[in-house]
Structures are given as C-alpha cells and as structure tokens.
Amino acid sequence: MLSKKQKFSSIGKKVLMALTGFFLMFFLLQHLSINLLSVVNADVFNKVSHFMGTNPVVQYVLQPVLIFSVVFHFAWGMVLEYQNNQARDVKYAKYKGNANATWMSRNMIISGLAVLAFLAIHFYDFWLPEINTKYIQGDMSGMKHGSDNFRYHEELVSKFAHQPIRVVLYIVAFMMLSLHLLHGFQSSFQTVGFNHSKYTPILKKLGNLFAIAVPLGFVIIAIYHYNSQPH
C-alpha cells in the first residue's frame, strides 16, 4: 500500500487514477460480455444476470469495490483537474493545444463528466429499480411478478424497444466513453511505469481497439434491442 506521503504526491495521485481506471476497464469488459449474451441467448443471459445479482461475492465484495472505484475515479479526477488548473493563474493569450496533444488527452474531464451524466441515467434506468426490487421489496427470486419466468431479459429489452431517445443518449454516451478510453487505456500503463520501445506501440494499438470495440459493443446491443420488438 502507498503511505500517506506517497498517496498525496503527484505520482501517487496518478497511480490511484490508473489503478481505479484498470478496474473500471476490467468491469466494462465483464459488463459487455454479459450484455452480449442478451443478444445471443435470453435464457443464458437471465441465468448469468441472476447469478451476478444474487451471488454474495459479486454483491458484497465486487460491487462495493466497483462503487468505490467509480466514485473515487470521478471525484479524484475532478480534484486533479482543479489542482492542475491552479498551477497556472495567468493563462496564455494564445495557446495551441492541438499542436502537440490529442483532443482526447486534453479533455478527459469533458468526456469523463459526460460519462458521469450518463451513469446518472443508467443508474436511474437499471441500478435503482434493481436495488428497490432486491433490497427494499426483498424479492431476491429474480422472477417476473406473478410468473415463474426470469425478469432480467424482458426488463432490458423494455428499456430500449421503441425508446429512440434513450438509444440516442446511450450512443452519445458511449462515443464519449470511447474518447475517454482512447487516452485512458494507454495512459494507465504509462502511469504505472510501463513504457517499452517494443511493447508500448502494440499496447497503444490494443488500447485503440479496446476503446472502439467495447463502446461499439454496447451501442450494437442497444440498437439490437431497439429493433428486437415488432414496431
């Protein structure tokens, strides 16, 4: 563990952002993998969703770590942005940011805040109803009310079928997530000290693939379910 002194050094701050970033990227991959099942097989998706929603390790170990990582990554990112702004009181009259750095790397706060706004919608759509059903109403069965069928796949589809505004919001949000990951993936490795003349160029390509493929996967799932019910 990092000591108090190191945690608040500039490098300690970066490393904490990178480590929570790594966990969130792993989470995205896991989330996408399960969501893809909703396109392939509704029964399998239901079973896996029920497992994830009721397994004590997932619910009481991984979920709190996830919540911590999400809150920390956003809050710490905003603190760092504020501190970095404070390091230059008098701004340049002319500053060509695009001459030497990508838009993605210079605007992580914008793509990050856009993802945060999306999370509010996403929590309202899925997480809050789930918490309400399971922990407030106490219904851990995973079954549709008054039926012996799992509710997860139907709930997912109902959120997107005939809901063009939600689908468009999701597409915009995932484009912002993609921009965030285009810098964030390779930046995380650099921060933890990984920079190699042979492997870093490969890692950057892998990062670009991750940053495009993962958000695109979520977008395809949203569009698939938008069209999956007869209009």
Partner: protein, 248 residues
Amino acid sequence: MNLNLKVWRQNSPEEKGQMVDYQLEGISEHMSFLEMMDVLNQKLINSGERPVAFDHDCREGICGSCSMFINGEAHGPVKGTTTCQLHMRSFKDGDTIFIEPFRANAFPVIKDLVINRSAFDRIQHSGGYISVNTSGNTQDANATPIPKENADLAMDAATCIGCGACVATCKNSSAMLFVGAKISQYALLPQGQVEAKDRAQNMVAQMDAEGFGNCTNTGACEVECPKGISLSNIARMNREFLNGSITE
C-alpha cells in the same frame, strides 16, 4: 517582411502585465527570432521606450536560456528547436505573432519575457546528483563497464537543457518530463545507484512543493521538447518512485 507583434510587457513580478502591440518593418527572413527581438528593442530604445527583457545566452540551442511562448507554442512553431534556433523564414509577411513568457505559477515572471526557473535548480539540489569521492584517487568513470544501450539512454536523458518548455506547454504546468529526465540519467548508470531509492522520492517531493501541476500523459511535453526527451523517462521516474516507496 512586415510583422505585427503582440508582446507581453510586465515591469516587475508584483505588477500586472499586458499584451502590447508593436509593428516592425523590413525584417529579413534570414534573421533568427532573437535577432528580430533585437531589432524591436533597438527601435524601442531609439524612441525612448524601455526595451523588452528576454532571456538569451548561447544562441545556439545549448544553454536553455531563451524561452518565449510564440504563437501558442513553446519555442515557436518549429519542433526540436529552441527560440534562438528559430528563424523568421518560419513566418510570413504580415503575420501577427504572439510572444509570451513561459507561464506557470512555479515560473513567476521577473520582467516581460524573463521568468524565474530556479524551481528547477531546487529540484536538482534535492537529488539530481551522485556522491563521488574526490580524494585524488577517483576512479575513471570509463573503468566501469556499462551496457551501450543504457549509456545511450542515459545520454539521451542528460541532453535535457532545463529550458522549461515541457512545463510551459503542458496544460497542467507539470514538470515531470524534466524531473523524469534528471532521474533517468542517473537511474540508468551504476554510478547513480547509491542514492537511487531516495532520489526519485526527494525530487518528486520538491517538484510537488514548487507548485507544478500533475502529469496527465498528454505527451505535449515530448513533442515540444527542443531536445526530444522521451515520455519513457516519465515512466522510468514513476517506476523509480514506486520502487522507492515500496522498498522504503
């Protein structure tokens, strides 16, 4: 060529500065940028005005004295050069040129375009050195075998002239490229191992105390560095720092 200059004028660290417009006529494209500034200053002196203060020394890209943020870029539009190596042929007749000091709270303006870069000196003092016995029996450095690759990388890091372009161009005013280079030039050599564990800790602590921002890996510093110092030096600094933290 005729030019419209917008130059930062500030009388002292305490006073507020402002951009001031100047017109220059008949500038040769073969002049260096600093020679163009000399022409401007002669014109100001002739008209009884105070000349523009700016740092310069070797005028051959080695000393790192000349700074200047020109048209939104540290050392101007040409990559891999200092301001003294920039020539007026990089501009066009009728151009408007913004000339500002390197800006960061850790680099306070002394006068006009002259900034105080002593924060870099204090970072160096905190760990940018090696301990060598100077008893008269000092071993020749070449007597220690060093892999060619490491010697080259250490030399690459040591080419940093401490000009501060990395800080000036970084949107966060971070000094990590400079500190990364200064740590790397010792971390790669056997002579630097004696203080290795404390060096990164102390230099990073001093860097933070000076008020530089945090690095967000935009890579702008690497692009604007007149000596082409690589971002890999920042990764090495991070490794050295974490290694020192964990094994402390």
